[in-house]
Symmetry: C2
Subunit: 428 residues, 2 copies
């Protein structure tokens, strides 16, 4: 049984609660929650005559735009290295299918990597992330984990990295990425680098594994996060130069041709426009980056105040607090696992989050993933105001929401004796 993607399932559950009149603070879904950049609607409308199938990998125009986009970010790229798809999710699935073998994942990591591996009948070798940042396995733990996995009959062949990371909202330091890539090379692993948050690194760029293992790293990315276009489903991959890259490209194109044919031509036109880095798009992403950073940082302060451990946010709109310091107080309120913690927050306080177990952690971990991006507003006007506000974290629909989160956590983690309310009563 393939379960509904945890993130998408929670989003649909929240929409249903809201439709039933409940006031839900939605921190459970990684939708960028911002308006469409100027220029993109026109690119979409202008493409309405493009109704033919076109090449599987994408049009020459779109592939050239993507190659230029990578080039301006320091990765020289030929158009034939690029392949478009309806989102980066199908690319990740097709890459796992193409490369073959078992899948090495950092823990925690994004919900769909392990689910895709399971769909393909592959084993997952899970390796915890280091303390300072997620998205890569702890280099100290990676090599022993590979040896143990091989001894247990697994055939680890591909390592998935997330730089910057979802769920932790951090950027792995270059030295960590380099160390992990060196181990991958020694062990003959290919690297899939999911870089869909790269444009949203709060303090500049992120260290792509493609710099450290250039001939064996394939990058997946898309416009869902940087341009808040999740609903337009625009993803693309950069396969490496060299012989392995050529082989991978043939395999990947073959699989793409049998599963999805091509990215919709009007969406390729949108991508071609956006990936040329026109000033309106660049400014839109810069404003989004600033907004994400400010609200995530304000949220981080609330989490620390409520007694959580939490890595400082460095990219995108995620935080990954650990409530382990409040384990005793939580136990007094009947909460002993991450899923129970997320359920208590939703049922008692109307705060929707995902437990760390959705990202591969044990259920005993008292971790949560919070996405702050759906706080930006419930109307286009509010979202636009958030994008341009000097202090978005103080806006009347954002500041009180952060206070509500802080109060909900404080209520559950308060060292004083539990009240009837926080011991188990549910919202009406």
């Amino acid at each position: 049984m393939t379960k509904h993607s945890a993130t998408l399932a929670l989003d649909e559950a929240v929409q249903a609660r809201r439709a039933a009149g409940q006031d839900v603070l939605h921190l459970g879904f990684g939708e960028a929650g911002l308006p469409v950049s100027a220029g993109l609607a026109e690119a979409l409308a202008d493409a309405h005559l493009r109704n033919g199938y076109g090449p599987v990998a994408g049009s020459a125009r779109a592939r050239a735009a993507a190659a230029g986009w990578f080039g301006r970010r320091g990765l020289a790229t030929e158009p034939e290295q690029v392949l478009f798809a309806p989102g980066s999710k199908p690319l990740l699935f097709a890459l796992l299918a193409a490369i073959g073998g078992d899948v090495v994942l950092p823990t925690p990591s994004w919900v769909s990597y392990a689910a895709q591996a399971a769909l393909l009948g592959r084993r997952v070798v899970a390796v915890p992330v280091p303390a300072e940042a997620g998205g890569v396995p702890d280099p100290e733990l990676l090599e022993p984990a590979l040896c143990r996995a091989r001894a247990a009959g697994a055939r680890p062949a591909v390592l998935v990295l997330t730089v910057p990371d979802n769920p932790t909202g951090t950027v792995a330091p270059a030295a960590r990425v380099a160390a992990v890539c060196a181990i991958a090379e020694r062990h003959g692993l290919a690297v899939i680098s999911d870089e869909i948050y790269a444009e949203l690194s709060h303090h500049g760029t992120a260290p792509s594994p493609a710099r450290y293992l250039p001939e064996r790293t394939v990058i997946t990315t898309g416009l869902s996060k940087s341009l808040a276009l999740g609903g337009w489903r625009i993803g693309f991959a950069r396969t490496p130069a060299g012989r392995w890259g050529q082989w991978l490209r043939r395999e990947l194109t073959g699989i793409a041709s049998e599963i999805w044919s091509s990215l919709a031509a009007p969406m390729q036109a949108v991508a071609a426009h956006a990936l040329d880095d026109p000033p309106a798009v660049t400014a839109h992403i810069a404003a989004a980056r600033r907004l994400h950073a400010r609200v995530a940082t304000a949220t981080h302060a609330r989490l620390l105040a409520a007694g959580a451990d939490c890595r400082p946010p460095q990219a995108g709109f995620y935080l990954y607090p650990d409530l382990a310091p409040a384990r005793e107080a939580l136990r007094a309120r009947g909460v002993t696992t991450g899923p129970e913690l997320a359920t208590a927050l939703l049922d008692r306080h109307g705060v929707a989050t995902l437990p760390g177990s959705a990202f591969g952690e044990p259920t005993t971990a008292l971790t949560l993933r919070l996405a702050t991006s759906l706080l930006y507003g419930s109307t286009p006007r509010q979202r636009h105001a958030a994008l341009t506000a000097a202090e978005p974290e103080a806006l009347p629909w954002i500041g009180p929401a952060l206070d509500r989160l802080g109060a909900a956590l404080a209520d559950l983690t308060d060292h004083r004796a539990p009240t009837p309310q926080n011991a188990g009563a549910t919202l009406g």
Copy 2:
């Protein structure tokens, strides 16, 4: 190694030959080759604010429109039975993954069914189609084939039917569909009914297997063929009512959530508009249906005149001639297999077709699949003229193309001794 989809690969090869200055008559690709219907560009442009992810299965609006569309075609449908996807290809893949077990296919059948089964590690049980029409296995041969397959260790669990059919361009008679469904029921097979050509049946509707095996038939379809929107990638499925249908829906939604998330929201808006059957769309499809029927019928006459066997076209824009009556003449020209026949037509006459072996037939079969839809014109003006012409088969860019096809085949099948030209010389 997953090969590039045969149809998409040939299309890209033809585009490359044309870019190199060759004059290729392209009969190898099932692109509908027509303009976009009035109203759809507006629906696409109006949807530019829909940038959120939305439900995996599709918006309530789009699902209601699809349910109404099926209802008006005699299949009462609730919105929750509908799931949208970026094309029907990913739906077929996800359905094979969800249902599990080995896959029973009519032979010949569309190129991607067997390729998808192979990607999923499933066996294919191939059963020839009856003489009068393709898309369903010959009922006389189906039951013995299932028994033989089981004896050989296969677990046949799902039967894929194509009604109307690609590659044969025919519509299986209702009695055949009913007989096949009865056998499927006896053997516990689920049925996937690919009905993407249903709107293009030349003489009315096509008998959906969902009428004969209602609780175990899932229908896949889309707008790529009826509305010539292959490049917009709009597909949808109708899962059956009842308990199995509910189970399938959960599985299918789970797999969809992990592979593609959802159909792009602007494309859902286009689908919602088109599936309401507005008059402009209905008229566009009626004109397309008439055009496909006239040109396919004119092509059929050329094929018979050149000595081929060929079922009369009944739907869409395909013909599936068999050159077996000319086997001796072809042998004298060095052509003994279907792939050699297709290669001779392309290299010696610049006529691009696909051999029957791409559709699961043995290479010894001298069958070809011809798609006539790319003859409608090389410019929007020509395609529009074809759509509205009283006698499109006589237009100056269509009639001579049919003559060229007839002459090419006649040259290869002529009973007189081969000339140096038709014995193997290639086009410059």
